[in-house]
């Protein structure tokens, strides 16, 4: 495929400045730049909008409070009272994925969530953290998570490996879902953008109209995937507290 006009060109990593440390390539890339922008946007937005602290909120303050309430409600619904401790973690995760997806929707801007290594790193943090949390709460008893009560004893050699694999597949399904949604959406946008220029006469208007509709759908998916990421994190934290 011609690399110049490929719809996948947008996912290429370009180093902005080459840095090498101890034999590892830790260059500051366009992906890191997008993450930096995301973190800056989140920090500035949340601090500036809540700065006024008025009882009758301004519109922007209302948006911040809406996001706060959204995650707080999610945590109290799924985890209960224990969940309050994990609010900062889940909220940061949600905002990072959400704003990362939204920043990616700006034309010419890089979408870092469309790289599986980024989403897998996020999912691994959740997975390892939740596993450690389970061991802290239940000690060695955490292994009974894989033991289903009320099943004939001869079924356990079959069921325990299945439960373990099901548990291990969590970070993969969590990361693949976010990554594939973003990758597919952005590739589709670029493919249809290619149709706009290659179709004869005025017929390019139709794919253009489709792109407009698709952009709206992509923004919905960007929000939905961040929500799914957050709610699954909450459910996993809940599992670490309540075995079965």
């Amino acid at each position: 495929m011609a690399a110049k006009d490929s719809p996948l060109k947008q996912f290429e990593i370009d180093p902005i400045s080459n840095i090498e440390l101890g034999g590892y390539n830790i260059s500051f890339t366009n992906s890191s730049f997008a993450m930096l922008i995301t973190v800056l946007v989140i920090t500035l937005f949340l601090t500036l909008t809540v700065n006024t602290r008025s009882i009758i909120p301004t519109r922007m303050q209302l948006i911040s409070e809406l996001m706060y309430n959204f995650i707080a409600q999610l945590l109290s619904d799924t985890v209960g009272d224990n969940g309050k401790k994990y609010f900062p973690f889940v909220f940061s995760l949600f905002m990072f994925v959400l704003i990362g997806n939204m920043v990616g929707m700006i034309p010419y801007q890089f979408t870092f969530t469309s790289h599986i290594i980024v989403t897998f790193a996020l999912a691994s943090v959740v997975f390892i953290g939740v596993t450690i949390l389970g061991f802290i709460n239940h000690g060695i008893k955490f292994f009974t998570f894989f033991y289903i009560p009320g099943v004939p004893f001869y079924m356990h050699p079959l069921l325990i490996p299945i439960e373990v694999i099901s548990y291990l597949s969590r970070p993969i399904s969590l990361s693949v879902r976010l990554f594939a949604n973003m990758l597919a959406g952005h590739t589709l946008l670029k493919v249809f953008a290619g149709f706009v220029v290659s179709m004869p006469f005025f017929t390019g208007v139709f794919p253009l109209a489709f792109i407009v509709a698709l952009t709206g759908l992509e923004i919905l998916i960007a929000f939905l995937q961040a929500y799914v990421f957050a709610i699954l994190t909450c459910l996993y934290i809940n599992d670490a507290y309540h075995l079965h």
Binding site: P161, I165, S169, V176, R177
Partner: protein, 95 residues
């Protein structure tokens, strides 16, 4: 007084219209099948990937070339179905 009542009636009509619109939108959300199918398929694929990965590691370790892969592939597939079952149960609960 009469004028006020008329205003209220109009407001009532407006609210009813908006409520109907909301219901319509709710129905629209339920039709979103693509994301639903995607959710289910990733669950199966993830479990299969883990199963195959464990199978390959076991084969590498015990030098038992196809047996570990076969066994853990089947375990992975079963775990995938278990994942789908759990997702479905959660979705059913939400409704």
């Amino acid at each position: 007084m009469n004028y006020k009542n008329k205003n209220l009636q109009e407001l009532n009509k407006k609210i009813d219209g908006l409520k109907k619109l909301e219901k319509k939108n709710e129905n629209k959300n339920k039709v979103n099948g693509a994301s639903f199918g995607f959710k289910i398929s990733t669950e199966i694929i993830a479990a299969l990937v883990v199963g195959v990965g464990i199978g390959l590691i076991v084969d590498n370790y015990f030098n038992s070339k196809p047996i570990g892969l076969i066994i853990f592939f089947i375990f992975g597939a079963l775990a995938g179905f278990l994942n789908v079952y759990r997702v479905m149960r959660r979705i059913e609960k939400q409704r």
